[in-house]
């Protein structure tokens, strides 16, 4: 028989539990009492007032291979077996997680082999979060008893416990144990509550000085005053526990509870319903000003802000990044960055030093950190980072947010201790701040705010803003930009942020002008931020693929700061473009094409199709929440595009197939059959006047290939 005794803290449930265990033990039953309250005083009265070792301390201090069940079980009165889960000090860590870990460990060490006749879980019922609800799970308590006094908060907690039970197998309620405080009206309140929820009051424990006397000697009333009527109450309760019926948990709504118990509406408001009444450790957040699309529209979050922020910080040379997280989060973030670096290096021969030599440190939050708080591990990681570098970014993960580690004070203390250091704190709390893109935005904002300093602005320098840190064509694009800038007598100042270093962010204001790397929401958010907070000025035209887009930003740049004649530069570029276009046009003229794009900004692609003399039959731009669709691009070709918000992809593809185009261009491969040549629209297109022609060159070659290559015959999926 497994029984859980729940009750609000301080209500006397441990006294009731210990006396109940004593009553069961004296009849020769083997009773295992597991105290599930961080206060770890559940079994003291069975142990002559001694404090047994807690399981959580044991987990913290004993390595896996050395653990043994006998180390955490202490024999108490009447042969009872006593276990205390333990847990953190109030205000740190996660006590619920401690209960989870305790149950896992006991199971792992073979607690079942003890063959207890009765297992009694004594559980704190104020907080019925997932951890404290473990004993309610179907394979643990077969019967649940609730201890309450007549005080409203105690009954309120009792009602919450019923909500918890209802979330599992609800037919397990053994009844209410009324622990009287001596208030005259309380019996009536408990009775009214019991009646309303359809449960019997299975015991009434009166207020008595015998409890105090027994407690002073570290014993139970059952042990010290075996013949007193008070002891009989526990023996009767033991009978009910063993043989009594079970009832269904039928909790009351908050208003009903107030009405029935108080007869008025003055009780505290209930928090979120069900089991999750407390996760208060998640920091209250002010909504971010510069948001990703997912966050702005409350969509499914794609990726987590943690990885977005980490990857962005990793891309800054001279900055060390501390991840306050378990290793898994660190690994996922580092992989993302390193895979991009490996691809860039192996495919393009480009070395991205910041990613290839990651300067990262992880606090490696482990089980004990989840229970007792992770700041000691974070402090160690910060110290490691600060020993190597004066500038450190620190990013927090989901677990850090859930257990509510006070990372900000720690960062301030570390900064104070390390003269001249900067700890740039990004409290992302995993995906609590938002999706991957939100993390990238947050990191850019935090780095800018911490690093940018005043400098006299120069007209011959320009910043580029909105670079995607892990795009593999960054280096190629930047080389192109620099070559055009040098034709204009200008230079590139800061790459914000990707392949950049601390000095260059600090010197952001050395350039009087900035240009967007593209038109997406991310770049536009950064532009708004830099305009609002740092007085940046942007060209209206972003960097772009294709001749028209390139011409636009060059002309604008010439007006603002370029020292060379834009016409001359553009003429040179256009000449190159026409030269390269000619032979391709011979191949492609008259060919038909359909488009299914997840990017809105495809003017460059339509330009290319027109320049090649191709026939555009259909062009769909489809919306998807992890693509950056809600930016306001003034498409020059808007009338030729169909924007689809709600769509079925199969229908979109079918509609293109019906047009029988020579080529279907799409952001990802689609199921369009084998009679149409499919080509990709790059996720992050190369910039520059010649870049689209590279694609066209590939189209021309693909059209010369057979539609059904031999390998397809052998492919089974």
């Amino acid at each position: 028989m497994r029984v859980a005794i729940y009750g609000k803290g301080g209500i006397g449930k441990s006294t009731v539990s210990a006396n109940l265990t004593a009553a069961l033990s004296v009849r020769g039953l083997k009773v295992l009492q597991i105290g599930c309250d961080p206060k770890h005083d559940s079994t003291r009265l069975l142990l002559n007032g001694r404090d047994p070792p807690t399981v959580m301390e044991y987990i913290r201090s004993t390595s896996k291979g050395e653990r043994d069940l006998s180390d955490v079980i202490v024999q108490g009165y009447g042969g009872s077996l006593c276990v205390e889960a333990g847990g953190p000090e109030p205000g740190v860590g996660c006590a619920g997680r401690g209960i989870l870990s305790t149950f896992d460990l006991l199971e792992e060490l073979g607690v079942d082999s003890l063959d207890a006749d009765v297992t009694l879980y004594d559980v704190l019922g104020d907080v019925v979060c997932g951890g404290f609800a473990v004993p309610l799970r179907n394979d643990y308590a077969q019967k649940v008893m609730v201890v309450t006094s007549g005080e409203f908060m105690s009954i309120y907690a009792a009602n919450n416990i019923l909500r918890g039970v209802r979330n599992y197998d609800p037919r397990r309620m053994g009844g209410i144990i009324f622990n009287s405080r001596g208030d005259d009206e309380e019996r009536e309140r408990v009775r009214a509550f019991a009646e309303a929820v359809g449960l019997p009051v299975v015991a009434e424990i009166p207020r008595s000085t015998l409890f105090l006397e027994a407690e002073r000697t570290g014993a139970t009333v059952v042990e010290l005053f075996p013949d007193d009527p008070l002891s009989s109450r526990f023996h009767d309760l033991a009978n009910t526990v063993l043989d009594g019926e079970v009832h269904e948990a039928r909790p009351l709504g908050d208003e009903e509870l107030e009405r029935i118990v108080l007869g008025k509406a003055s009780a505290p408001r209930a928090e979120a319903g069900g089991m999750r009444v407390e996760n208060g450790s998640l920091r209250p957040r002010t909504p971010p000003v510069y948001t990703s699309r997912n966050v702005d529209r409350h969509e499914v979050l794609h990726g987590c802000a943690f990885t977005g922020a980490v990857v962005t910080c990793m891309s800054v040379e001279g900055l060390h990044t501390v991840m306050h997280s378990p290793d898994s989060c660190a690994h996922l973030s580092c992989q993302m960055a390193q895979n991009a670096a490996r691809r860039a290096f192996l495919k393009e021969g480009v070395s991205i030093p910041s990613f290839l030599e990651p300067r990262v440190h992880c606090s490696s939050m482990d089980d004990p950190a989840m229970v007792f708080g992770g700041t000691p591990l974070l402090e160690a990681a910060l110290r490691r980072a600060l020993a190597e570098c004066s500038h450190v970014a620190m990013v927090t993960s989901c677990p850090s947010g859930i257990i509510g580690d006070d990372v900000i004070s720690l960062a301030q203390r570390m900064e104070a201790e390390h003269e001249g250091s900067k700890v740039i704190t990004m409290v992302e709390d995993g995906n609590v701040a938002g999706d991957h893109m939100q993390g990238v935005i947050d990191a850019c904002v935090a780095l800018a705010d911490s690093l940018i300093t005043e400098h006299p602005p120069r007209n011959d320098l320009i910043n580029v803003v909105g670079i995607k840190p892990i795009a593999t064509n960054n280096e190629r694009n930047m080389r192109y930009l620099e070559s055009v800038l040098s034709m204009m007598g200008m230079g590139l100042n800061c790459r914000f942020i990707g392949g950049t270093d601390i000095d260059s962010i600090e010197g952001f204001k050395k350039a009087s002008l900035s240009i967007l790397a593209n038109t997406d929401r991310f770049a536009q958010m950064l532009a708004s931020f830099l305009e609002d907070e740092h007085g940046a000025r942007f060209l209206r035209s972003p960097l772009s693929a294709g001749m028209a887009g390139t011409e636009a930003w060059i002309r604008e740049l010439a007006l603002h700061g370029g020292t060379q004649d834009a016409d001359k530069v553009i003429e040179g570029l256009r000449h190159e473009y026409q030269e390269a276009l000619g032979p391709l046009r011979n191949d492609m003229e008259g060919r038909s094409v359909c488009i299914i794009s997840m990017h809105k900004d495809i003017d460059w692609l339509i330009d290319l199709i027109d320049d090649l003399g191709m026939e555009l039959r259909r062009a769909y731009v489809v919306d998807r929440s992890d693509h950056l669709m809600d930016y306001h691009v003034g498409n020059r070709h808007e009338s030729r595009l169909m924007f689809l918000q709600d769509y079925v992809m199969e229908d979109v593809v079918r509609s293109c197939v019906q047009e029988s185009p020579d080529i279907l261009l799409s952001t990802y491969p689609v199921d369009a059959g084998l009679d149409i040549v499919q080509e990709r629209i790059p996720m992050v297109p190369d910039i520059g006047h010649l870049a689209p022609l590279e694609l066209a060159r590939h189209w021309a070659l693909a059209l010369r290939a057979p539609l059904r290559e031999g390998w397809r015959v052998d492919h089974d999926g």
Binding site: P326, L332, V360, D626, M649
Partner: protein
Amino acid sequence: MMDETRPDGLVGALMAFEGVKGSITALNGPTGCKYYPASLSEAMTRRGGFNPMMHDSRFYLGQSRIPCTYMDLNDYVAGGRARMEELWQDCQTRSPSLLALINSPGASLIGEVLEFEGGVPPTAMMESPPPSVTFSEGYESAILAVLGALRPLDASPEPMTVNLLGMSIADLGWEDSLADLRSLLEVCGIRVLAAPGAGCSVAELKDSGRAALNVMVHDERCQRTAEWYRINHGIPCHRPSGGAPLGFGPLTEWLEGICSLLGADPGPGLVSIKEARRRAAREISRLDRYQGLPRGTSFSVSGSPSLVLPIVKTLHGYLGMVPLAVATSEDGPCTEQLESYLGDIGCGEASTDVLDCPADVVIADGNTAAMVLARGLADNAVDIEAPSMVQVNIRSDPLLGIGGTQRLLDRCLQGLRR
């Protein structure tokens, strides 16, 4: 020993679940924990990658593997049970051979329960994957959850059969390695019943209870599994002392050990190894005669101890190369042997930082190897752990067995210069 860039226990657990043929691994957690492991699973099992135009269903989010409940702040506060139940139901309709349910670190912290009433496929669960543990620890916990859910047959042992333990779909060339080892054992009359975690089916896993012997391939990943089989099915286990079957010496030792325990004749397998040795010797002798290579060239190596030990022994003892940096990703039964071998050959002081040690060849996971090349610390790299340095493997490319040994030798010797 854990460094931030190495796969950890959560990835280990997810890959172990994904290593059951026809299974679905459902993650109760945010998409942040899903995307990379799902893409790793897709890559290692040669499925297509991220494509929101083809796999755009609610829980799969553009990928073909590891559906998830896309938890967010609201779920952390109010619990994510309802959506997990919907995902669970979605999985039921797809008739997986096994359903694996696992909580993300955040979901486990708020105590999300993964148990559901009913359901057709056998279900393995990990409600509290331990945070910040090694790949091996997470992998093995998941394997044990799978075995617990499937309950292999309790039948009398079938002579001349083995299970290969500790292999994973996260290993480079796992399919080809398995085929290589399988055929080597087969010529000796030994049949492989199952390789838990390396793409074997539920039927094979159920059958695994009848094996006459368990054989460790990567011993840091299967100590508890071997014990589980011993207690529940009385299957003894062989742990070859040389680590994974890679390199002619360790491979021979591995095969002879198994054959002697099963009473099989290793002869035919040894003939195959001998043929491969002869061919290798012919090539190496050319290098030796014309360039005095590979004797005296250097290497640095990083990986799991069961791989690093046979690599060090082979490159040093067989090729005459010298280890300048030796790093292991975690501790395992081979760690001690590795240390004593290095001591015996006078390399006990070898560096443990392959990223800071020039050598002729670097042998490591693809990312580390690329970093070493990019830093100009080595001219030649051999990838032995994921991610791979190549995208395509038309030819069979095993990491272990005879083929794996040939691969290691080919790739190490290819770029050597004097």
